[in-house]
C-alpha cells in the first residue's frame, strides 16, 4: 500500500468516525435502547480518538511525503443537465486535506475530545445527558465536514449541522424561557447567515458551473491558489460570504447573539463560543481567501469589519459584569482581529491565531466558575485588593458615553429589531390584517363567537345542568 492510498483511507476514517457516532446516537432514539452515560461517553471518546489518530496520520503523511493536498471524492449526489455546461448542476461531495483543513480538523478533535471528557463528568446525572451528547456528536460531524469540505455544497452541509446543534444546545435547558428565546435568536441569525451563504453558492454556480473550491481557486493548493473569477463577481460573492461569516462568527452587527448563546451548559459554551463555532466564519473566509485576493474593495471591507468588531468587542467587554459574557466579548475582539488578518492576506498568521485563541479561550471558559477563587488567589499573591478603574483613561465627559455604549452593548440587537425585524414582521401583520378584513367583507355580517374559541365543543359543561 502506498502512502497516498493509506492517507486516503485515513482521510475517509476522519469523516466516518463522527458520522458513525451520529448514526449510533440517532438510531438509539429510534429504538428503545437508550445508551447509559458510560456508553455515550465511551462512544464519543472512541470516535474522537479514532478521528484524531487518523487526522494525525494524514498530517504526518503530508509532512513526510510532501504531498500538500489529499482529496477524497464522495461523488456527485445529483446531476442536472442543461443545454449548456453552465446550466449543469452537480451536487458534489468532496473532502480536501490541505494545510488549512488538517490543522483545523486536529484542533477540532482535540478540543471536542477534551471538552467531551469534561462534559462527561460535568453533566453526570443530568436528565439531558444523552441529548447533550447527541447534539455534541452532530456538532463534531458538522465541524469536520465543514473543515474538510472541498466543495461549497459540502461546506454548507457541515455549516448547517453546526448551526443546528449550536441553536439546540443554547436552548438545552428548555424548561426555562430565556434559553429557548435566546436559542431562537441564535437560530434566526444563523438562518440569515445561511441565506447569504446559499445565495453565494448559487451565484458561484451561476458564474462558474460548479461549487468546487478547486475550480474556483484554480489549480493551486491553499494558500497559493489563484481564483479565476472576474473582480466584480468576486466582490459580489465575496460580500455575500462575508455576511455569512459575520453571522456565524458574530461580527458586527450580529454580535449580540454571542453572549445570548451562553445559556447552555458551561462545556458547550466553551467549545462552541470560545473555540470552534465562533471561528467557523473566519474559517470560511480563510477557505475562500483566493477569492479575497481578487478584489481590493472586498479586502478593505473584510479588514474594516474585522477591526470594527475587534474594537466593539474590546470596548463592550470592559463593562460586562458576568464572566461568561465578558469572555464572549473578549473572544469576539479576537475573532475581529483574526478577520482583519485574513483581509490583510496574512493567512498563516490568522490560522495560528485561531488555533491559539481557541485553545486558550476554551480553558478560560471551562474555568469560568472559578473566577471568584482566582480573584482571591490573585489578591493574596499581590497583597492588595484588585480595583477596577473608572473607564480608564477616557476623559470624564466622554466616559459616560463610552460606558453606556459598552453597557448597552451598542444596542446592536435593539437597532436590528427596530430597523429590520419589526418592519419585516409588520409587513406580514399588515397582510394578515388585510386578509381578515377581506374575509370579513366576504363573509357578511359578523357572527357572535369568533371561529376559533371553543365553538367546536358540542356542550359546554356549564350549560348541561
Amino acid at each position: 500500500m502506498t502512502l497516498e492510498s493509506a492517507m486516503s483511507i485515513a482521510g475517509v476514517i476522519v469523516v466516518l468516525a463522527p458520522l458513525l457516532l451520529v448514526l449510533a446516537f440517532c438510531t438509539s432514539t429510534l429504538t428503545r435502547w437508550s445508551p447509559s452515560e458510560l456508553s455515550s461517553s465511551r462512544l464519543t471518546e472512541a470516535s474522537v480518538l479514532t478521528g484524531l489518530l487518523a487526522a494525525a496520520f494524514v498530517f504526518a503523511g503530508m509532512l513526510w511525503g510532501g504531498s500538500r493536498n489529499v482529496e477524497i471524492e464522495v461523488g456527485n449526489w445529483a446531476t442536472l443537465h442543461g443545454p449548456t455546461p453552465l446550466d449543469t448542476y452537480h451536487f458534489h461531495f468532496k473532502f480536501v486535506f490541505d494545510r488549512l483543513s488538517v490543522p483545523f480538523a486536529l484542533l477540532t478533535f482535540v478540543l471536542v475530545g477534551t471538552v467531551g471528557a469534561f462534559a462527561n463528568r460535568y453533566l453526570h446525572r443530568e436528565p439531558g445527558f444523552h441529548r447533550f451528547f447527541s447534539m455534541y456528536a452532530l456538532f463534531l460531524l458538522g465541524m469536520i465536514v465543514a473543515t474538510l469540505a472541498g466543495t461549497v455544497e459540502t461546506l454548507f452541509v457541515g455549516w448547517e449541522l453546526v448551526g443546528l446543534s449550536s441553536a439546540l444546545l443554547v436552548a438545552f435547558f428548555h424548561d426555562r424561557l430565556a434559553p429557548v428565546r435566546n436559542g431562537l435568536r441564535v437560530w434566526t441569525v444563523y438562518r440569515l447567515a445561511d441565506a447569504a451563504f446559499l445565495i453565494a453558492a448559487v451565484a458561484l454556480h451561476q458564474v462558474h458551473g460548479a461549487g468546487d473550491f478547486a475550480e474556483l481557486t484554480g489549480n493551486g493548493v491553499w494558500p497559493d491558489a489563484q481564483a479565476s473569477l472576474s473582480p466584480s463577481a468576486a466582490l459580489t460573492i465575496g460580500l455575500l460570504v462575508l455576511v455569512a461569516a459575520a453571522g456565524k462568527s458574530g461580527l458586527v452587527p450580529f454580535s449580540e447573539w454571542l453572549p445570548r448563546a451562553m445559556e447552555g451548559p458551561t462545556p458547550s459554551s466553551a467549545v462552541f463560543y470560545g473555540a470552534l463555532s465562533v471561528h467557523l466564519g473566519a474559517y470560511l473566509l480563510l477557505r475562500v481567501s483566493p477569492l479575497l485576493a481578487l478584489s481590493t474593495p472586498l479586502c478593505v471591507a473584510v479588514v474594516a469589519l474585522g477591526l470594527i468588531t475587534a474594537a466593539y468587542g474590546a470596548v463592550v467587554a470592559r463593562a460586562q459584569t458576568d464572566v461568561k459574557t465578558a469572555l464572549a466579548f473578549a473572544s469576539l475582539a479576537q475573532v475581529g482581529l483574526i478577520t482583519a488578518e485574513i483581509g490583510m492576506g496574512w493567512d498563516y498568521f490568522a490560522l495560528v491565531h485561531i488555533i491559539g485563541h481557541a485553545s486558550f479561550r476554551t480553558l478560560q471558559l471551562l474555568r469560568a466558575p472559578s473566577v471568584l477563587h482566582d480573584y482571591q488567589s490573585l489578591e493574596n499573591a499581590l497583597g492588595e485588593a484588585l480595583a477596577p478603574t473608572e473607564a480608564g483613561a477616557i476623559a470624564s465627559e466622554k466616559r459616560r458615553y463610552w460606558y453606556r455604549f459598552a453597557y448597552l452593548r451598542g444596542q446592536l440587537d435593539g437597532w436590528m429589531n427596530r430597523l429590520i425585524v419589526e418592519p419585516f414582521l409588520s409587513v406580514f401583520r399588515n397582510c394578515r390584517n388585510a386578509e381578515e378584513r377581506w374575509l370579513k367583507w366576504l363573509g357578511g355580517p359578523p357572527r357572535e363567537t369568533p371561529v376559533d374559541s371553543g365553538a367546536d365543543r358540542e356542550v359546554a359543561p356549564g350549560e348541561a345542568a
Binding site: V110, T114, A117, F118, A119, R121, Y122, H124, R125, F172, F173, A261, M262, E263, G264, T266, A314, A317, T321, D322, T325, A326, L327, A330, Q334, L337, H353, I355, G356, H357, A358, S359, T362, L366, R367, A368, P369, V371, L372, Y375, L378, E379, N380, A381, L382, E384, P388, T389, E390, R400, Y403, R404, Y407, L408, N417, R418, R457, V459, P461, A465
Partner: protein, 1005 residues
C-alpha cells in the same frame, strides 16, 4: 406576612415609602455574597408562623412548592419509604373525629381522603383534560389502579340501572335524558343493548360515569376568579431585563474593568445619568431620556418618584403595599442581594449605599410606567374571562371525581342519583382535600417513618449496658457537623480505645483571621458573633527572611497571572495570549484527563513559594485599642478553653492526647465552595481555630487558671490542632514540631488510626457517588475522593450536608457504634458538668438549634423547590459581579443551594434528641424565644432522652409524650463497611459490633 397590622399610611395620608419598603424587604432572600455562604432558614421571615402555615403562605407568595410533588411521595410509598400505616396514622391525626363523617351513600370522609391519597389524581387544563378524555382509553378501560371489585361493582350497577331503571322511565331532567340517549345511540342504540359484550359495558359505564361527573361538577362554584393583568406581566418582563443589567453593574464588586458612572451617588442617579442623553433603540424607552433629564434637573427624591409613578399607573393607595411587594419580588434575588449589600455587608469591597432598595423600586416603577404604556399601545387582546376560569375549575373537578369514582367503585348511575345538596357536599370534600393538603399528609407520613425508625434505634442503642470506664488512649474533638459522623464512627471502630467528641467547629475561638500569604482578614466564627480579635499567621523567627523572599516570588507570579487574566480580555493582550494560546492545550488536557496528577504537579510547584513553618500571633502584646485586639489575654484564653471542656464533658476522662480537629472543604470550579465549609466558622475553614485552641489549652498559665476554676488538666495531657478536609478526606496537624516527647507514642497511634479512619470514611462516602466503584478498596476510594477535589469538571465534589436529618445532643456512649449514615449532627454534652440552672445546656442549644435548623431548613427548601427556593442546576451557572450566580446569559440572581448539592437529600425537618429532662428543656425554651419559635412552630422536631432508663419523650403540640418503639430489634453488623457495602441508597440503622456482628449487608429501609 408577619405583621399584618402594619399601616403604610400615616395620619396625613402621605405614605412613608422608605419604611414600607424596608418592611417588605424581609420577604426577600437574605443571602449575601456567595463567597461567604451562610446556611439559614430560607423562610426565616416567616418563622413567626407555624411551619405548615408558613410553607403555604410562602408557596403563594413566591409561587413555590410547599412540599415535594405528589408523585415523589407516591414513589416513596411504593418503595416502602412510607408505609400504609404511616399514612393512615397521619391522616387520623389530621382529620381527628372528622374522619368518620359520612358523605351521603358514598362512604366516610376518611375513606374518600385515603383513596385520594393512595392513587395519583391527575389534574390539568381544560384542554389537557379534554384531550385525555377524547384521545386516550380513559372512557374505555378502567385505570389500572382500580381494583377488580370496584370495576365489577361499577359495571353491574350501571347495567342494572340502565336496564331496570332508565329504560323503565325513571324521573330525570330532559337535558340529562337527552345526553344519555345520545350516549346510548353512540353505542348502537337501545336495540343493541342486549348484545353488548363485556368491553362494551365497561366502555359504557365509563362514559356514563364521565357524563355524571361532568354534570355534577357544574354545581361547584368558583370562589375567586383569578383575573391577572397581562399587561403588567408583559411590562414587568421588559423591566426585569433592564433591571438585571443595572443591578449587576451597580453591585459589581470589581469584575468589570469599568465602573458604572456616578455609582457613588446611588442607584437612581447612576441610572438617570446613564439614560439622560441616550438614544434608545427599544421603542418602549423612546420617551425616557427626556424624562430622565427632567427628573435629574428637578432633583426628585426616590420616594417622591415612587409616589408619582404609582399615581400615574393609576394604582389606588390601598393597593400600594401589594404592588410594591410585587415589584420587589419580581427579581427577588437581585432585590434581596441589594438589600443585603445595603444593610449587612460593610466588609465588602463595595457595599451599596443606604436607600439603594428604595431607589431600586423607584427605578423599576419609572421603567414600568414606560413599559405599561408601550404594552397597552401594542396589545389589545382580552385577558381570561371569569367564565373561562370557571369552566377550567369545573373540568378539573369533574376529572378528579371521575378518577376517585373509578377507584372507589362508584358508578355513573350512583352519582346521577345524588341530590344537588349531596353533590355540593361531595365536591366540597374533594376540593377540601386539594393536592397541597394531600402532600402535607404525605410529608408528615414521610417524616413519621424516619422518626419512628431513628427514635427506635436510639432507644435500643441507649439500652445497651454502659461501657467499662477507663482512660481512653486519646481523644478527638471534631465539629458537630454531620459529615464528621462517619469519620468519628470509623475512628472508633479502628481504635476502640479512643474517644471522640463533638463541639461547634470554631471551638469557641471567634476571630478575624489572616493566614500567611493572604491579604484580607476573614471572620472564623458563627455569623451571629462579631469577633473582636484579629489573629495573624506569621513565619517562625528563623524563616522570616526566606518568607519575605517567597512572598516576593508569589507577588511576581501573581502579577504574571493578573496580566494573563485581564490582558487576555483586551485586544492586544488577547492577541499575544491568542498566538501563544496553543500552549494552553497542555494544562487544559492534563487537568481534564488526569485531574489528580495535575493537582499533584500544581501542589508541588506551589510548595516552592509556600511557607512551611509558621506560628499564630495568638497572645495580645498591645493594650486593646477601640475594641479591636490583636490577640487574646490569658484570661480570655482560659475562658475559651474552660467553656469548651465544660460543655463537652471531656474532663470526665482524661487521656494523654487531645486532638482538636477543625474542618473545611476544597473543591475546584465551584462558586458555592463556601457552602461546603464549616458552618460554625461562618462558611470558613476551621483549621486555624483548632490550632489556636490547642495552643491555648497547652499554655501552662491557662491551665493554672482552669484548675482554680475546678478543671484540672493533667500535666501529661497534650492538645494538638488538626484540620480535616471533608472533600478529599485529608487530615493535617498543626505545630507538631513543638509536641512534647511524652506524647509521641499516643500521637503515632492516633495518626495511624486516623489515617485508616479517613480511608474508610472516603470509602463510605464513595458509596454515594455513582461514578465511584462500589467494589473499590478503601485505598482506591481515598484516591477517588482526592481526584474529585482536584477535578475542574466535578460538580459534586462532595455531598455537603445532604441527607442531614438528626441532631444528637448528649454523651457519646448512647450513640456510639450506631450506624447513623452520616445523617446526624453529633454534639457532646455531659449533664454531669452542668449546673442546677442548666446554663451550659442553654448556651449550647442557643447556638446548636438555630444553626442546625438553619442548615436543615435551607436544604429542605432547596430540595423541595430547587428552582424557586434553590438556585437550580449548576450547569449553566454564570458568576456575576463577584457576588452570585445567574443562569446562562442573565437572569435573576440565584440564591439557595444548587440541585447537585441537594439531589440526594431527603427533605425532613431535623429531629433533635437531647439528653436532658422535660422540665429543663421547657425552661430553656421559655428563656430563649428563638428556640421556642422553632420548636413550637414545628420548624424542628424535638425529643429528649434519658439514657439511664433508655426512655425517650417526643415533643408534640406543647407536651412531651413518651415514645414507644414498635420496631424489631436493631440489626447488628461486624463493621460499618459490612452494613453499607454495595448500597447506594439511604440506609437504615444498625449496631456495629465487631464481636457479635454477622456480616449481613444493610438493606434499604
Amino acid at each position: 406576612m408577619t405583621s399584618p397590622t402594619h399601616d403604610p399610611a400615616d395620619r396625613d395620608g402621605d405614605v412613608d415609602f422608605e419604611h414600607l419598603i424596608a418592611h417588605l424587604a424581609h420577604l426577600l432572600p437574605s443571602q449575601g455574597p456567595i463567597s461567604v455562604f451562610v446556611h439559614h432558614n430560607t423562610l426565616h421571615a416567616f418563622e413567626e408562623q407555624s411551619f405548615h402555615e408558613a410553607v403555604q403562605t410562602a408557596a403563594d407568595l413566591y409561587d413555590c412548592h410547599p412540599y415535594l410533588p405528589e408523585p415523589d411521595y407516591r414513589v416513596a410509598l411504593k418503595r416502602g419509604r412510607i408505609t400504609q400505616q404511616d399514612l393512615e396514622a397521619e391522616l387520623y391525626d389530621v382529620l381527628g373525629d372528622e374522619g368518620d363523617r359520612l358523605l351521603g351513600r358514598l362512604g366516610t370522609r376518611h375513606e374518600l381522603w385515603m383513596s385520594m391519597l393512595e392513587h395519583p389524581l391527575r389534574e390539568g387544563t381544560e384542554a389537557e383534560i379534554r384531550w385525555f378524555i377524547d384521545e386516550t382509553e380513559a372512557l374505555y378501560r378502567f385505570r389500572p389502579e382500580a381494583s377488580d371489585a370496584a370495576r365489577e361493582q361499577t359495571i353491574d350497577d350501571t347495567r342494572r340501572w340502565l336496564v331496570r331503571d332508565y329504560f323503565n322511565g325513571i324521573v330525570i331532567s330532559p337535558a340529562r335524558r337527552q345526553r344519555i340517549d345520545a350516549l346510548i345511540n353512540q353505542f348502537g342504540g337501545r336495540g343493541a343493548v342486549d348484545s353488548w359484550d363485556d368491553p362494551t359495558w365497561e366502555a359504557f359505564s365509563l362514559h356514563l360515569l364521565w357524563l355524571a361527573c361532568e354534570d355534577g361538577a357544574t354545581v361547584a362554584e368558583v370562589s375567586s376568579p383569578a383575573c391577572e393583568d397581562r399587561h403588567w406581566a408583559q411590562a414587568n418582563e421588559l423591566v426585569d431585563a433592564a433591571m438585571i443589567r443595572l443591578c449587576a453593574a451597580f453591585l459589581d464588586q470589581g469584575f468589570a474593568p469599568w465602573i458604572l458612572p456616578e455609582r457613588d451617588r446611588g442607584l437612581l442617579q447612576a441610572f438617570l445619568a446613564l439614560h439622560q442623553d441616550a438614544l434608545p433603540a427599544d421603542s418602549w424607552l423612546a420617551r425616557f431620556p427626556a424624562r430622565a433629564r427632567e427628573i435629574r434637573q428637578q432633583g426628585v427624591a426616590a420616594s417622591q418618584l415612587i409616589e408619582q409613578s404609582l399615581v400615574e399607573l393609576q394604582i389606588p393607595p390601598a393597593q400600594y403595599e401589594q404592588r410594591l411587594q410585587e415589584q420587589l419580588l419580581s427579581l427577588r434575588g437581585w432585590a434581596g442581594t441589594l438589600w443585603q449589600m445595603e444593610t449587612n455587608a460593610e466588609w465588602a469591597p463595595w457595599p451599596a449605599p443606604p436607600g439603594s432598595l428604595v431607589e431600586y423600586v423607584a427605578v423599576r416603577l419609572l421603567l414600568l410606567r414606560e413599559a405599561v404604556a408601550a404594552v397597552r399601545r401594542s396589545d389589545a387582546t382580552s385577558p381570561a374571562t371569569v367564565r373561562e376560569t370557571q369552566r377550567q375549575h369545573q373540568a378539573n373537578l369533574a376529572f378528579v371525581l371521575f378518577q376517585i369514582a373509578e377507584i372507589r367503585g362508584w358508578s355513573g348511575a350512583e352519582l346521577l342519583r345524588q341530590s344537588r345538596d349531596e353533590w355540593m357536599l361531595l365536591t366540597d370534600e374533594a376540593t377540601a382535600f386539594p393536592s397541597r393538603m394531600r402532600r402535607r399528609v404525605y410529608h408528615l407520613a414521610y417524616e413519621r417513618h424516619y422518626r419512628e425508625q431513628s427514635l427506635g434505634a436510639i432507644q435500643q442503642a441507649a439500652a445497651r449496658p454502659d461501657p467499662p470506664a477507663g482512660e481512653p488512649a486519646y481523644q478527638v474533638v471534631c465539629c458537630i457537623d454531620d459529615r464528621e459522623e462517619s469519620f468519628r464512627r470509623h475512628l472508633e471502630e479502628v481504635d476502640p480505645a479512643c474517644e471522640t467528641l463533638g463541639f461547634a467547629g470554631f471551638f469557641g475561638v471567634a476571630m478575624y483571621y489572616r493566614g500567611l500569604g493572604e491579604t484580607h482578614f476573614r471572620p472564623l466564627c458563627p455569623v451571629n458573633v462579631k469577633p473582636r480579635h484579629y489573629i495573624v499567621e506569621e513565619p517562625v523567627y528563623t524563616e522570616a527572611t526566606a518568607s519575605r523572599r517567597r512572598a516576593a516570588a508569589r507577588k511576581a507570579l501573581g502579577r504574571a497571572a493578573q496580566g494573563v487574566t485581564f490582558g487576555s480580555r483586551s485586544v492586544l493582550g488577547g492577541l499575544v495570549t491568542g498566538l501563544l494560546g496553543a500552549i494552553a492545550t497542555a494544562p487544559l488536557v492534563l487537568r481534564v484527563v488526569a485531574p489528580r496528577l495535575a493537582d499533584v504537579l500544581l501542589r508541588g510547584a506551589g510548595r516552592m513559594v509556600r511557607d512551611r513553618r509558621t506560628r499564630l500571633h495568638l497572645e495580645t502584646t498591645a493594650p486593646p485599642a477601640d475594641g479591636r485586639r490583636d490577640g487574646y489575654t490569658v484570661d480570655e484564653m482560659a475562658a475559651i478553653v474552660g467553656g469548651m471542656l465544660r460543655t463537652t464533658g471531656l474532663p470526665a476522662k482524661w487521656s494523654p492526647l487531645v486532638i482538636i480537629c477543625g474542618h473545611g472543604s476544597s473543591s475546584l470550579n465551584n462558586p458555592h465552595a463556601a457552602a461546603y465549609d464549616c458552618g460554625a466558622c461562618g462558611g470558613g475553614r476551621g483549621g486555624p481555630n483548632a490550632r489556636a485552641f490547642a495552643r491555648m489549652a497547652n499554655d501552662p498559665r491557662v491551665r493554672a487558671i482552669l484548675s482554680e476554676r475546678g478543671i484540672a488538666v493533667p500535666p501529661t495531657t497534650v492538645f494538638v490542632g488538626a484540620y480535616h478536609n471533608t472533600c478529599d478526606d485529608s487530615v493535617v496537624y498543626y505545630d507538631l514540631d513543638s509536641l512534647q516527647s511524652g506524647a509521641d507514642a499516643a500521637m503515632s497511634r492516633a495518626r495511624e488510626a486516623i489515617d485508616e479512619a479517613r480511608r474508610r470514611d472516603a470509602h463510605e462516602r464513595s458509596r454515594r457517588f455513582e461514578s465511584a466503584d462500589l467494589n473499590a478498596t478503601p485505598e482506591r476510594a481515598l484516591r477517588h475522593v482526592e481526584g474529585r477535589a482536584a477535578d475542574l469538571s466535578q460538580v459534586r465534589s462532595e455531598c455537603g450536608h445532604a441527607t442531614n436529618a438528626l441532631c444528637l445532643v448528649g454523651r457519646r456512649q448512647w450513640s456510639r457504634d450506631l450506624f447513623l449514615d452520616r445523617r446526624a449532627f453529633l454534639t457532646s454534652y455531659d449533664p454531669v458538668f452542668d449546673d442546677e440552672e442548666h446554663s451550659v445546656l442553654a448556651n449550647l442549644l442557643a447556638a446548636v438549634i438555630p444553626v442546625c435548623a438553619g442548615i436543615n431548613l435551607e436544604y429542605y427548601f432547596s430540595r423541595i423547590d430547587n428552582v424557586g427556593y434553590g438556585c437550580g442546576t449548576k450547569l449553566p451557572h454564570n458568576l456575576t459581579s463577584l457576588l452570585g450566580v445567574v443562569d446562562g446569559a442573565g437572569s435573576d440572581l440565584r440564591t439557595g443551594l444548587p440541585w447537585q448539592m441537594v439531589e440526594i437529600h431527603e427533605p425532613l425537618r431535623i429531629l433533635f434528641i437531647i439528653e436532658t429532662t422535660a422540665a429543663a428543656l421547657k425552661k430553656i425554651m421559655a428563656a430563649n424565644p428563638a428556640i421556642e419559635r422553632l420548636v413550637v412552630g414545628e420548624w424542628v422536631q424535638l425529643a429528649i432522652i434519658d439514657p439511664a432508663h433508655a426512655t425517650i419523650q417526643l415533643y408534640r403540640r406543647g407536651e412531651f409524650v413518651p415514645f414507644e418503639s414498635h420496631d424489631a430489634p436493631l440489626p447488628t453488623a461486624s463493621a460499618s463497611a459490612a452494613w453499607y457495602r454495595g448500597q447506594r441508597d439511604h440506609l437504615g440503622f444498625a449496631l456495629i459490633d465487631a464481636a457479635k456482628g454477622h456480616a449481613s449487608s444493610g438493606g434499604p429501609r
